[in-house]
């Protein structure tokens, strides 16, 4: 106990005495640790932003996409197919699933040749795809029972068919068909890309009620626990086929995650190289300091310092120094990362803003301690090999 404490006290005293030289070497280490920690954290946050973006397009982790393999048994309507899928989902206790149907509806008014991108979905689709709204609200279960359809549209749709009326005024549009119907706009979704055309979403149950012949249930999305995704990918198509509705179930691609990982390794590699350079600077200083301190080491041996204690003491000087530099580096990284304007960089705030990743801080500290041990090793070996009587006379 006293040996370890003594070595640390001794190491700290040495750092205090040689603080200017050590400080210069440690600036490099602290910067490298800041880079490694900060970039590791930034990549984690960037990954979260990418994932949220990805989930808006393809659904949350893990969303299985079931694509229709062709017409169902003769005489089966889209509503009946939907009921079969609902029953299968319920049997497997899948809490969130949604149809993604396309339809082709004309809207009264607007400029000629304007095409509306229609989607018919279930209420769960909003949760599965993290659907956020610029104004108004998303569908609720009770909307399916309303006597007139309700729509969630983008601003381009409002501009084209409702003279840009705000959603708070409950703008109405007329959907053309065999029996035209007035639909109320209840929410506005953000644009997905620049110059996006009119886009509208309708509840699937309402779509099949008013336009049964113009709705095609192309696919279904099932949000399942990631660990059960493989099992459901096998079970769902089998059960659906058995019920007479053939679907092919695909798992989402993992490309985004792979890119994240490659980016992280790349950045860690660059940070690691910077740390190595910082460590070499420290090694240089440590070696010079040890040569300068040969007599002192001899004197300490006369106090009863064992060779192990001398080795540990010199090693600890380097480790204590880089540990302090590591703490400084991590603190700077936390301060920088916490103040990054995520809204401005990603264009929108994160739904689930991750805290500063503890892993990143651990990686930074481990790198700092590791480089300290490596930089201290050679001077420590040198210090132990010095003959005591020669050292005292040095």
């Amino acid at each position: 106990m006293t040996g370890v404490v003594g070595a640390i006290v001794e190491a700290w005293d040495e750092l205090r005495i040689h603080r200017v030289r050590v400080l210069l070497a440690l600036v490099g280490v602290a910067c490298a640790v800041t880079a490694i920690t900060g970039i590791t954290a930034a990549v984690t946050m960037f990954g979260q932003a990418m994932q949220e973006q990805n989930e808006r397009m393809s659904g949350r982790d893990t969303t299985l996409e079931a694509w229709s393999m062709g017409p169902a048994e003769a005489g089966t309507t889209p509503a009946e197919v939907d009921a079969i899928v609902d029953a299968v989902a319920e049997r497997h206790k899948i809490s969130y699933h949604s149809v993604r149907a396309t339809t082709d509806l004309a809207v009264r008014g607007g400029e000629s040749g304007t095409y509306v991108e229609w989607s018919a979905v279930d209420v769960d689709s909003g949760i599965i795809t993290r659907q956020d709204l610029e104004a108004g609200r998303w569908f609720t279960e009770s909307d399916a029972e309303r006597l007139a359809p309700v729509l969630v549209v983008n601003q381009a749709f409002l501009d084209a068919y409702a003279d840009g009326a705000p959603v708070t005024t409950h703008p109405k549009v007329v959907l053309e068909g065999e029996s035209p119907v007035a639909a109320t706009v209840i929410g506005v979704v953000p644009v997905q890309w620049n110059d996006e055309g009119p886009r509208a979403l309708m509840l699937f149950d309402q779509a099949v009620r008013w336009f049964p012949d113009r709705v095609m249930a192309d696919s279904y999305r099932f949000w399942v626990p990631p660990e059960l995704a493989d099992r459901f990918a096998e079970v769902l198509p089998r059960d659906l086929a058995a019920a007479g509705v053939p679907f092919d179930v695909q798992k989402p691609m993992a490309d985004a995650l792979v890119i994240d990982r490659v980016l992280q390794y790349l950045v860690l590699g660059v940070g690691g190289f910077a740390l190595l350079l910082g460590g070499l600077g420290l090694l240089n200083i440590a070696l010079v300091t040890v040569r300068y301190r040969i007599r002192e080491i001899g004197i300490r041996r006369s106090f009863g310092a064992t060779s192990g204690r001398v080795f540990f003491g010199v090693l600890m000087e380097s480790v204590v120094a880089t540990t302090v530099a590591g703490v400084v580096g991590v603190v700077i990284a936390v301060a920088v990362i916490k103040n990054i304007p995520i809204d401005r960089i990603f264009g929108r705030p994160l739904d689930d803003l991750p805290g500063f990743p503890f892993d990143a801080a651990l990686v930074g500290m481990a790198c700092a301690v590791g480089i300290g041990a490596l930089a201290g090793l050679i001077p420590a070996i040198y210090a132990v090999r010095v003959k005591v009587i020669d050292a005292i006379r040095y």
Binding site: I17, S302, G304, R309, I389
Partner: protein, 253 residues
């Protein structure tokens, strides 16, 4: 029944191999016993092996042959870790050039050996170091760095450092060599008194016969051979040890 001596060298030799392959004999069959609280002085010319003998006594070096018994225990059988421990526990060193740690205050210098102690000595090191400095009259210079102290004060710090762990043996290598005569006498008085107060044995290596004369017993080391001398018989000394006029002048009448 004779008590076991604290330090007992029996036929100790020390040889070193020179780069040309020849052997240099530094010590030849040295016999020396030092009892608890005894003051011993060793005189001799430069290069006669005095420091080598002191290094062997302080467990900093090992004999080539012969036996070194520390309180009856052969030190040749001790491993390096045990040797270091006994060196720290039992010996205090005072060097000619003081060998204070640069950049540290007087208090930190005196506390430094206690970093290698255990138990209470380790945890109370600041208090013990303060007390040791007060004992040598430097209670008011605790936070002064060596470069701001005079030679005599630096040697007093070194003495405080040598005493701080309560050693059984104090080994002083030319303790007055870097000081003027008056300061040297004052330092030796301090060292003698401190050793007597603590009951530690004192082995002093010196060129100065006046300093050596203060010891209970004196020895002369010449050509690696240690022989007892009596400094109240200067003719005997002069006969076998050619000395400078200044050295001879230091021999008490």
């Amino acid at each position: 029944m004779t008590a076991t001596p604290l330090v007992d060298l029996q036929g100790v030799t020390r040889h070193v191999e020179l780069p040309d392959g020849s052997t240099l004999e530094i010590l030849r069959g040295v016999d020396l016993t030092v009892g608890p609280g005894e003051h011993v002085a060793i005189v001799g010319r430069s290069g006669t092996g005095k420091s080598t003998l002191l290094n062997i006594l302080g467990l900093l070096d090992s004999p080539t042959s012969g036996e070194y018994l520390l309180e009856g225990e052969p030190v040749g059988r001790l491993r390096s870790r045990a040797l270091a421990r006994r060196r720290g526990d039992d010996f205090g060193f005072v060097f000619q050039q003081f060998n204070l740690l640069q950049g540290r205050t007087a208090l930190e210098n005196v506390a430094a050996p206690l970093l290698y102690a255990r138990g209470k000595q380790f945890w109370n090191r600041t208090r013990l170091a303060t007390r040791s400095l007060e004992r040598v009259g430097l209670g008011a210079r605790l936070d002064t760095r060596p470069e701001k102290l005079s030679g005599g004060e630096q040697q007093r710090v070194a003495i405080a450092r040598a005493l701080v762990r309560g050693p059984r043996v104090i080994l002083a290598d030319e303790p007055t060599g870097a000081l003027d005569v008056e300061t040297g006498q004052a330092i030796m008085t301090l060292l003698d008194d401190a050793a007597s107060e603590t009951g530690a044995a004192l082995v002093t290596i010196t060129h100065d016969l006046a300093i050596a004369a203060r010891a209970d017993r004196q020895f002369r080391l010449a050509d690696g051979v240690l022989v007892p001398i009596h400094l109240d018989a200067p003719a005997a000394v002069a006969e076998s040890t050619p000395m400078s006029e200044s050295e001879s002048a230091g021999i008490p009448a």
